[in-house]
């Protein structure tokens, strides 16, 4: 009982804090802050997955925005592409009868036939998982920084593809993505009327993901991961199947990112190639570094905070610079992250130029 309280206590506290924040914002003159918080929460979902990968499995991914894009773009394409011309084809006919498709009208009033958001979401997640497996299986075998390079290449390829292919809207991306009808009246929708509802939807998804991550970390799998992170060879010699655990974590982190991508795309109603740039991937890494490589709470908190500030334009024209600087400072001084008590003695000693014991 005690252990469960320790594990989940913070989650409950967080849930309470979320409700308090919403009430405070609604009562104040600034209910619109909720919009930006909601967007930040979806970005934080990506960060959470990356934290699992970097902090616990000890692997870096320099292309995580690519998974965000695979999820988001798949959902966007499936819910906006017009299959009306093929409505009588066998496969499409079957989809219609099973209720996977929706009829609606486009900007000019012509009839459209598109996938409804749920099948799009599931397809996107499955696709992301497959892609992650495709990259992970050959590359995770290699030592050290090779996964980082491969994911960098992956992010670049996805960027090129979405920027070049007509079906992905090329440089302008895809807009007019419909809202995502969850259950009953709940809808992932960016309009002001749905603001409070969406705030809670986002936080619910995030907290569920967090609970999942916490469970993972405290389970046998998590312990195995931590042992790999500490000393891979020792873990291997003890019989831990390092390869399988690393691969599983990689795929899971990719799925987290894709989920964030899908939900944010429906929330914004659009997605563009700027979501897949190398800078975006670097940002996610910077946020994990600040929040704490092996600190789920830190990653979540920093993810929401820094994305929020960036979206509000607080960093002005120095936006990219801030994240680059964060990256360097964190790597140099506090590789365990800010939210872990730094080694003050060591820090002071280093600043004074003395060697520390």
């Amino acid at each position: 009982m005690n252990k469960h309280l320790r594990m989940y206590g913070p989650v409950i506290a967080a849930a309470v804090a979320v409700v308090v924040l919403q009430l405070a914002l609604s009562a104040s003159h600034a209910p619109y802050y909720m919009t930006q918080v909601t967007m930040s929460v979806y970005y934080a979902l990506v960060v959470l997955g990356l934290c699992l990968l970097m902090g616990y499995a000890g692997q870096a991914s320099l292309g995580h925005a690519g998974f965000f894009a695979v999820g988001g773009y798949t959902a966007a394409v499936m819910t906006t592409c017009n299959l009306n011309a093929y409505r009588d084809a066998a496969l499409i006919g079957w989809c219609r009868s099973v209720g996977l498709l929706i009829e609606k009208q486009d900007l000019y009033g012509h009839p459209m036939l598109c996938f409804s958001p749920w099948p799009a979401c599931i397809t996107a997640l499955v696709l992301t998982g497959l892609v992650a497996l495709l990259i992970g299986v050959p590359v995770i075998r290699l030592k050290g920084h090779y996964l980082a390079m491969a994911t960098l290449g992956f992010g670049l390829i996805i960027h090129r593809i979405v920027q070049g292919a007509q079906v992905f809207g090329q440089a302008d991306g895809i807009s007019n993505v419909p809202p995502f009808q969850l259950f009953g009246d709940l809808e992932v929708n960016g309009r002001a009327a749905f603001r409070v509802q969406n705030y809670y939807i986002a936080w619910t998804v995030a907290l569920v993901a967090l609970v999942l991550a916490i469970n993972l970390v405290h389970s046998r799998v998590g312990r195995a991961l931590r042992s790999i992170h500490e000393n891979e060879e020792a873990a291997h010699s003890l019989g831990v199947n390092t390869y399988r655990y690393k691969l599983a974590t990689f795929v899971l982190s990719a799925l987290f990112a894709a989920m964030g991508g899908i939900l944010l795309t429906h929330y914004n109603g659009s997605i563009g190639p700027s979501e897949v740039s190398v800078m975006k991937s670097v940002r996610y890494v910077a946020i994990v570094a600040v929040g704490g490589m092996a600190n789920l709470w830190g990653a979540m908190l920093m993810g929401v905070l820094l994305s929020f500030l960036s979206l509000r334009g607080v960093f002005g024209t120095y936006d990219d610079l801030v994240f680059g600087a964060i990256l360097i400072v964190m790597m140099l001084f506090a590789s365990e992250g800010l939210l872990r008590m730094p080694n003050w003695r060591a820090l002071r000693a280093r600043l004074q130029g003395k060697p520390h014991g």
């Binding site: 619109y32 914004n268 109603g269 659009s270 979206l311 509000r312």
Partner: protein, 387 residues
Amino acid sequence: MNTGTPGILRVALAMGLSMGIAHSASAADAPPIRVGAVFSVTGPASFLGAPEAKTAEMFVQKINDAGGINGRKIQLIIKDTGGKPESAISMTKQLIEEEKVLAIIGPSTSGETMAIKNICQEGETILLSCAAAETIVNPVASYVFKTPQKDSDAARWIYKTMKEKGLNKVGVITSNDGFGMAGKAQLEKLAGDFGITVVISEAYDKQETDLTGVLTKLKGRQVQGVINWSIVPAQGLVAKNMKQIGLDVPLFQSHGFGNIKYAQASGEAANGTLFPAGRLLVADTLPDKHPQKKVLMTYKKDYEGKYKEDASTFGGHAYDAMLLLTEAVKKAGSADHKKVRDALETLKDVVGTAGVFKMSAEDHNGLGMDAFELLTIKDGKFATYRK
């Protein structure tokens, strides 16, 4: 007290003070008109957003120094999106809901504009976009307008000139961003209308630094002319690369060639390039009676004097947006969203930098083919093309 300020001075002081208070009270009585701006001041579209932001600030300062509109000053709130649609979305929502602006000027790129089109429409906030995509105003959304000229008109100018020169086999190269792809679509669509065949049409990466490969391809197909539709850095390279590989046919550029720097980048190879553009670039050679001359010369002088850099047609789009907005507010006599919007649609004969605007309920752009002038480069300077 009988020492200190004599009575009459005290009265004068009191009068002066009360007049001062009354004056500031009356100024406080007229709240400023809040206008938002969403530009890509930094990032990949900064050559658009930076001059646009500067122009907007300059315009607002000029109006405020002259007393504002209907006695009210304009308060301009500029946000930098870095060219990212998600930042544009977030900042637009901020401007509409938090700052409660009357109108939003910008964004600089078509991708960002399409991402916020619905938001502005639902928020009943006027959007005056400085981006060029046709889909911004087609289909028409009642609150959404745009100020740059039509891509299709630019394409028509190019083809018209080619036809006059007797060229009918052309190679088209475009960049793979929104601007280039929009141009590609227009060029391929309209070629047939002028009896021109597009022999080869290729899109290159927008950051491409060496076009000799794709131009060699064009050379191999014996094209009679090359149309390049892109922005920097490619448009500065095409002319050079063509001369270097010995492809000696006429080169046409798009209206993205709107800054003398691009001509300078190509050096002497740029001489003879033909492109449609707003008349800002040749303002000093226009006849004095030309309706746009005064506006263009004033803008050019003010901008170059204040910011010490060449004026470009891109900044001009922001100027036109602010101009249309302030004219509409003057006409409506108020800063009510609906009234200003209605007034915007009725504006006719507003002389801007891109052309003379003629708005209507169906046409939220207001410019036609005559907004362009076919220009060329002579001795490293812009000049009107004379046949």
